[in-house]
Every structure is written in structure tokens, then in C-alpha cells.
Amino acid sequence: MADDGRGVTPLAGAAAVDGPAEAAARAAAEAVARASYGKLVAWLAARTRDVAAAEDALSGAFAAALADWPRRGQPANPEAWLFTVARRRLIDQDRRRRTGAAAEPALRLLADGMAAASAEPALPDHRLGLLFACAHPALEPGVRAPLMLQVVLGLDAARIASAFLASPAAMAKRLVRAKTKIREAGIPFAVPGRDELAPRLDPVLDAIYAIFTEGWSDPTAAEGRGALTGEAIYLARLVAGLLPDEPEAAGLLALLLHAEARRGARRDAAGAYVPLAAQDPAAWDAALAAEAEALLRRASAFGRIGRFQLEAALQSAQADGRRSGRPDWPAITRLYDALLALVPSPVVAMNRALAVAGAEGPAAGLAALDACAADPRLDGYQPYWAARAELLARCRRAGEARSAYARAIGLEADPAVRDFLLARQAALPPEVSDASD
């Protein structure tokens, strides 16, 4: 049914009986699903705004493909084939729901769509409009990233739920609610006009960034949560490609690519955590980093600075510092100052304090850290306590460092990071009374 919120998982459950022809058909359908899912949903739902019905029809079309393609071979244009079948299902669905004259306007809409689709060699790409609908300010912020994953990439609710550490039932319910609101409140699938574009683009980029950070917290897997970094990069590429004149879209992509380039280097061969300061730059993905640099240069040419460009520039400066062994801490501090002016977040203030420590020594860093310590949001934030412990240790305040490490360790969910922090704590000098610096 349209409203069960399970999304589509285009091909899940169809795996049972596979000969070579079936396997080839599945591989072909999977490739089309990956590349075209969001495009097909966007095109099918653009007029009716009924995302759930479009997903349903598309899921039926994928099932039909698995039955048809092994027998008759893959069609020349698989995307158009899926679109035609899905559209037919939508029309049938609509006919069943309405009767007689009441169905006329909707059928006419769909017929218009048919004519438009057959007139064009390739389906027009409405995915950008779909992304703006998913990140519409009329939807609650927490559902925007999950909605993008489901509607644009075809992930099922159970996988999305585990990525966001939510129960599948609760996630399914929120997704259904969001899709209902899109349909019933009339949220358009449209790219906002010039004057509205910048404020409306922010939540789109924020949601993509949220997808990435969920994936980032899982350091290893190409499966499971870790794979979300790839999905986020896919979406960021899509937005940056479709909005080439928006420097923040390029900035976000640059930021994600910089981070992704160093993803593998966060663990050594034995699976132990390696902090940035100890990573071997040779282990980074040079191609991704180079692409990020090129994007950042192109974005900065617009002369419209923004949060993601600054964060990408910080990643770039940190990487340079690691490569040369001489980080330019004053420059990094200035980047943090600029970022803090745009995003008054305690986490940014905390990272700025670490840059100050690099530039002026641990005591100055600690003073800067104290200045933001009052923010209650830092109290449960592991990196804050780890940073504090590190600076205290460098100030030879071993006793305080020990208890700050304990806080950090208690807040960390990743065993590798926990082991790293435990080792740092154990390496503190034995408890002499805290010496003066």
C-alpha cells in the first residue's frame, strides 16, 4: 500500500531464484535503480506531489523489470522502460481510486506527462526540486535527511532507521507523515527563485551534511552506516552539479571529499584509532583531496563566503599542515574566527581553542576553551573533554587531565576511540600534585 512508509528497496526480496539471466537482469535493474531512482520518483510525483504513490508504482515497475528483462533482454533505454511501466501503474491506481468524471483532471495530468516524456529523449531531471521539497522549512528538521535518503536514493525505512539510531517503526511513521504533508499541504517540487534560493538551499545542504556525519561516525564499513558517507557525497555532487553558481554547494562537496579522503587513515592495520595529528598523509586518497581543492578554488572565485566553504578550507589547511609538518595555526585560527561569526556554535568555539593552542601554546588554548566551557551543549560532547584533557596534560596538570579523559571515555561509543583515549590517560605522569606550568 502507498502509505506503509517502507519505501521501496527497489530489489529487496526478489533475490530468491536466480539463473544467469535473472542475475544479469538484477544487476541491470540495480544499476538503473542507483542512477535513476530519484529522477523517476521526482518525475512521477512532480505534478501530483504524491511521493508515496510514485514510490509504490516504481517498486511495481522494478518487480516487472525483474520478471521481463531476463526473458526479453534489457531494453535499450531501461530508465524510459521503468518510467512507462510505473506511469501506467499510477494511472491504474488513480482509476481505481476515482470513478468517471472525477478522474478526468488527474488522468489528463498524467497524459500530459506521458506526452512530455515521449517527446523528450531523456527524462528531465526534477531531482533538485525533489531535494528542495524534502528539505522544505514546513517539514520538521529531523526528518529531512531521512526523507532524502528514501525518496531520492530509494533506501528503505529500516536501513534509514538504523543509520539514525531510531526504531524502524518510528522512522517509518515520520517518513509517512512527511510525505503526507508534502502532498496535502502542497509543498512544491521546485527550485526556489533567485531571492529565496540562498535561505532555502541551507536546509538542503544541512540535511546532506547530516547524512554524511551519520555515516562518518562508523569508520569502517562500506556496508551499514558507513556507506552513508557515499550517499551524502552522491547527493552533494548532484546539488553542486545542478547549481553550479552556488558556491556553498561546491563548498559542501569539497568539505565531504576532504573528509572522505582521510576516512581510511583513521584506523591502522590493527584497527586502532589514529588521530589526524598522527596520520600518514600518504594513506589519504589524493584524487579526492585534489578534487576538493579544485572545487574550493572554484567556489571562492564567486566571492561569497559561507559556512561550508570555510569548513572545507579548514580541512584543507589542516591537511596541508599535516603534510608539511608545520600547520599555519594563526591562519587556521582566523578561519575559525570567520566560521564562528557565521555559525555561533560551541563546537566551532572549541575547535578554535585548539587552533589557539597550536598558535600560542596550551595555556592560551585552555583559556580559550574555558571561555566556551559554560555552554551546556559541550557537557555531553566527547571531543570537548578529549581536547580539554589534551591541553591540561600539555600544561602538566595531570590530575585534571585524568578526570577530563575519564569524561571523554565515558561519552565515547566507538571502542577504537575509547581505547585510544584510555591509552592517553594511562600515559599521563603519575599523580604528583599539579605542578605549575
Binding site: H136, A138, E184, A185, G186, I187, P188, A190, P192, E196
Partner: protein, 119 residues
């Protein structure tokens, strides 16, 4: 699609507004009405008398209960509404933001059931 823009205002605060400010407000609403009508999106609209003039009715066990006063006591009260017909939510939100009430109150934007809208 049809949307109802409901204007919620603090009646008590509104009562204390000096006359010349009130006149400016009236002029702003007049201009807004003209803009809505000029764009061809206005279906209906009205300003409501204060909640002191409200009466509630409910029928329980076949008997009507009539009570003096508004349905709910809140800091802001429904002070007026516009019914507009626009293509989508973004257009409705743009009109809501232009409403003079949005800068000294809150506008709730609600889509109508399509059947009711066509009737």
C-alpha cells in the same frame, strides 16, 4: 489549492495601541487586501471582533450547552483570516509573510480539503 491564513494576535496588547499606530495598521491591511485581490488570489477574508464577544456551543446528550467566551484561553487569539487560492504552499507562505499580522502576531497556514475547496 486553497489555504486559510489564520491571524493570531494578542488582543490585550492590541487594545493598548495608540490611535496613529492603529491607523497605520489599517492602511497596511487595506493595501494588503488590494494586493491579494489584484493578484487574483483572494477568495474571502474578514476581521473578527474580540473574543469578549465570542460564544461557544456544544451539544451533549442531545442538549445544547451555550457558554460565554472563546473556546480556548491562550496568549494569542484568532483575530481574522484570509482564504486564498494559490498554486502551492510556497506561494501561500509568501502571502502569509506579507500579511501585516505576521509582524505583530502569528499566521497559521492551513490547506483546505480539496472537496470543500471545490464545493
Amino acid at each position: 489549492m486553497q489555504y486559510l491564513l489564520m491571524i493570531y494576535l494578542d488582543e490585550k496588547a492590541a487594545a493598548g495601541i495608540p490611535a496613529e499606530v492603529r491607523d497605520r495598521g489599517t492602511a497596511a491591511y487595506r493595501a494588503y487586501n488590494e494586493a491579494l485581490a489584484g493578484a487574483g488570489v483572494l477568495v474571502a477574508g474578514a476581521r473578527l471582533r474580540p473574543t469578549a464577544d465570542a460564544t461557544t456551543v456544544r451539544v451533549a446528550d442531545g442538549k445544547a450547552q451555550v457558554l460565554d467566551g472563546p473556546y480556548a484561553e491562550a496568549k494569542e487569539q484568532l483575530g481574522g483570516y484570509y482564504l486564498i487560492d494559490v498554486p502551492d504552499l510556497d506561494a501561500a507562505l509568501a502571502w502569509a509573510a506579507r500579511c501585516p499580522g505576521a509582524s505583530h502576531g502569528i499566521i497559521e497556514v492551513r490547506p483546505l480539503w480539496p472537496m470543500m475547496a471545490e464545493a
